[in-house]
Symmetry: D2
Amino acid sequence: MLHFECDYTQGAHPKVMEMLQKTNMEQTAGYGEDPYCEAAKELICSACGKPDADVHFLVGGTQTNATIIASVLRPYQGVLCAETGHINVHETGAIESKGHKVLPIQSFDGKITGMQIREMCEQHFQDVNHEHMVQPGMVYISFPTENGTIYSKAELEEISIVCQQYGLPLFIDGARLGYGLMADGNDLTLEDITDLCDVFYIGGTKVGTLFGEAVVFPNPDLARDFRYLIKQNGGMLAKGRLLGIQFLALFEDNTYFKIARHADELAMQIKNALKAKGYQFLYDSNTNQQFPILPDVVVQQLEKKYVFSFWQKVGDNHTAVRFCTSWGTKAEEVNQLVMDILR
Amino acid sequence: MLHFECDYTQGAHPKVMEMLQKTNMEQTAGYGEDPYCEAAKELICSACGKPDADVHFLVGGTQTNATIIASVLRPYQGVLCAETGHINVHETGAIESKGHKVLPIQSFDGKITGMQIREMCEQHFQDVNHEHMVQPGMVYISFPTENGTIYSKAELEEISIVCQQYGLPLFIDGARLGYGLMADGNDLTLEDITDLCDVFYIGGTKVGTLFGEAVVFPNPDLARDFRYLIKQNGGMLAKGRLLGIQFLALFEDNTYFKIARHADELAMQIKNALKAKGYQFLYDSNTNQQFPILPDVVVQQLEKKYVFSFWQKVGDNHTAVRFCTSWGTKAEEVNQLVMDILR
Amino acid sequence: MLHFECDYTQGAHPKVMEMLQKTNMEQTAGYGEDPYCEAAKELICSACGKPDADVHFLVGGTQTNATIIASVLRPYQGVLCAETGHINVHETGAIESKGHKVLPIQSFDGKITGMQIREMCEQHFQDVNHEHMVQPGMVYISFPTENGTIYSKAELEEISIVCQQYGLPLFIDGARLGYGLMADGNDLTLEDITDLCDVFYIGGTKVGTLFGEAVVFPNPDLARDFRYLIKQNGGMLAKGRLLGIQFLALFEDNTYFKIARHADELAMQIKNALKAKGYQFLYDSNTNQQFPILPDVVVQQLEKKYVFSFWQKVGDNHTAVRFCTSWGTKAEEVNQLVMDILR
Amino acid sequence: MLHFECDYTQGAHPKVMEMLQKTNMEQTAGYGEDPYCEAAKELICSACGKPDADVHFLVGGTQTNATIIASVLRPYQGVLCAETGHINVHETGAIESKGHKVLPIQSFDGKITGMQIREMCEQHFQDVNHEHMVQPGMVYISFPTENGTIYSKAELEEISIVCQQYGLPLFIDGARLGYGLMADGNDLTLEDITDLCDVFYIGGTKVGTLFGEAVVFPNPDLARDFRYLIKQNGGMLAKGRLLGIQFLALFEDNTYFKIARHADELAMQIKNALKAKGYQFLYDSNTNQQFPILPDVVVQQLEKKYVFSFWQKVGDNHTAVRFCTSWGTKAEEVNQLVMDILR
């Protein structure tokens, strides 16, 4: 079977494994206070064009989201989020377990707009009983979204401006950041991301590392005492250097972006094949996740050779599915899939 | 100005005040372990037809909801609730502050159905990734709802059966229980309520007391250590007898039900006047809350003499508003309102 | 039996009951936004010598402590407190239930010192692993303490200075504030209290009201969005005016202080009698709580006529007990007790 | 410099790295539902002598402790623990952040006794006001303790019996389990541990893996829905197989125990050298942590060549320090240290 069901079926990019192996028996301080973490942070700050940004490494996405949100909000505040947002549906209530309501915003493709945020805030603060309701306290978006879509620079700027007007820190979940930045049609750079939000993370787990997410606070003031929060939330790895080493391996010579581009290109080959056959898509994605709507007979045919994800039923005899590529997907695997699609 | 904006603008029913005054200088044990609380509990158990039910008195509704829900759920579980439910929109995230997600169910009039609960549960437990989502752990409904509507016996039985099938404790918020039980067309008794759910409360604040809600656990097993939870959540009144005395005053000779009926009857006079004029209603309520859709000019006219609540805009020149009666509303006040409506 | 077991065995001071009765059928806005609350807040601000202080009314002590502490701390911070402090031992973990550790400080009589606070802070911040430990985030003291003792002005000033040096808001639990301020030997005024801390409350439950605590933030900045927190924590009474009315009744003509003085004077009569008989005391209190160490035979003798609290065994045949007076204790009751002690 | 400051300065045992490398490009299901996790669980169950135990892999210790404790306790319950226990002092309040108080028990060497647990329970349940206090809900001990000491079989049996009598689940933190089981003088087997507690974990981070802890529930009933809790608490690794692979590598041929024994033997060489010189010890440890009390001049001398941890000042010119060995410590490093001690 060939695997396209998600982007975390394999270990790490060979460069990462190599550096982990090479440094394995060295002895360093724990908890992320080692030279590898320092070096990785410097590379990341430099890639973000923000030398004085504050960078922290955590282990996984759910943990990272919960820790950042708990750090920013006061107890009666909630986080605005697309109703399809990862924190709203796929983290077993991690945000609520820290005491905060997720305030969902209607969304058809995983994206929300500055206008929607503004409406929600105005509705809240103009209500005479606003103290009886959860106060909007920050905004969470993902780039790319859980549906593979990305924000344009203009869209993100609009969101950023509304957030500033209402004093809401803007947090971008970048679990698949690489795949978004390297997508065809994307007009946002890593520097733009850094400029337009208050905190974001560069996902490692889905883009080349064994595990690990690099949280970036462009303005270190917002990161005050963040290490206490990491520790409390179980995200402070004893052998913290493992995180530094992995990000070092990927950021030393832009490997992170190269392998993300590789996945995007393969995904576009799949997309083009599907389009050539006239299939519709649930969402219009240029990133490593593709969501075609296929006749059920085609799904059944493909399932014999490929593993991919069921997404939702569409009408009586169609199904939306998800094909994922990753840094580890091979060109020949995609070639085969493309041929089978076009057959 | 005559007040119809809500059902808690006044103090307590005179019988309640009289008994508070009469017992004021007596000395008793604190924290609800006094003879008045004992006597009130016995009366309530008897009214519920369940001599061995476990009854506890708390101070207010938000506190009561949060305490009951925190008592029932495990950390990764959420509470199913109409999207308009009080716990979902008007308690500043009190449920989330205890770590639990509210799982909203679509509703147009404040009610949900057994079928909706079943669908939500099946969707959850059939999902291969269900551990990544909040598990349905209990069901919250209100009787009457925040929109004045009530469940029929058949509807409540259906909900009760589904809850049992999925092992979900059923909790009925009875902040306005009296107004529901005494409504025209209601076919549920207090004994039915007791039989069909796992925990509910008899609201005092809105039905004759200064404050206070009487929580009833038909099966005491579910109430294990509930007093610890009351204390932890700030609901254990030092002079707990104040709660017992108030419920005693209202349940001694069915005053609770008589004053609720009084409010419902006055509300029906208002409803009938509105219907006679051909106005539509946002929700079909026979309880103490009425939600007519009025031309804006009528609203402006009435606002000169009456206080009532804005609910929502309907089209360009209509507004849905809320008129509330209560145990304390006077017949002559309603007469005047009726005349002004019919004018 | 004559009751000396605690200071909340009775209802409210007659003036309070009278005003509740008189205003009972009036119609006002709910949730504390009524003219009575406004008037009471003004009186309290004036008594505190701080016209622009922010005053809020809550229902009970545990709720008030938990709400204030949750309002001040960030998630990884804890509250410093005497090991005997009410929040550490008698609130069923209400503080922890909001996510915060209580950091206990050794204490023999309920009091702590500025020096102890300083040591705890230095120990924390000098530790290289401080991020692995709960950060001191605020200081909680009670005045008078749970043991009846009070701080001198010099002691409180020292604590206040240390708190400022370490950026720790100082919170004074004044559940029995009146009894402390009116005690023989006290050199602190209500204005001093207001000047020397960041938030405190004037206890009503134990000093003349049916229930209710008046929280004072000398600097309103610290009270930002406090009403959201009150609501979330179940402390926002629907008929909020009940709180305003009660404090109005007690602060209109200094009744609050007069009835507290009354209790203190009666307590001193008991103390003097006990001293005259040569009994030792567990703590040296001039407030309404007295903690004599009595021979067990004396305890048994007194128990026939009086209700009082067991505190702890002292040696083989002595017991420390607690006698409480209150605003409602009668002179003749104390006379009898005194005679029986001296007998 | 030679490193003895802690047991997590290095990566993983070479066998672990080898297996990670070998499996790196394989494609498996995520979240611990892969064949490697299955195989590792089977090996662990077998080593525990409990084929039907429930085993789960988490990433780190703080996370594991918090998740297990949140899983077991109801909201008003606390966890009994030595005052020096890791959860009480070195996890930034992670337990409290889930709403639970840690109930500390006095301890001089990191151990507590069944008698102390019994006293705490009796004191609680006999208090008439027990509902005002946090209820004992479970017991946490560590084996070996944070001070290197271990429980004898008789001691653990006594604790286990008391826990059963009071219905308190017993949880053993085995972050350094291997070092405890292989210590000179230890009379407990892994099977005994499994028999005598309700949940424990086999620490990987400090005993040969890059990271990872294997939680064992001897009785699967207590583990109901534990995967929801892991996910909510951020402990569900996307590439979960990394945990299975690492434990597989260590349990395939008892490597886990061999490398733990290696560390213990080297620690005993250090201990014997220290004893030969007549130094006292803060705690009597036969495990990989040694806590000698050294003259300050000796400390200064050793610091030139060795890294070790400051523990506490003892008198005016002595200091207690900690020397740690680990699976990765080399015999020649210890030889040198021994010679320098004996010099």
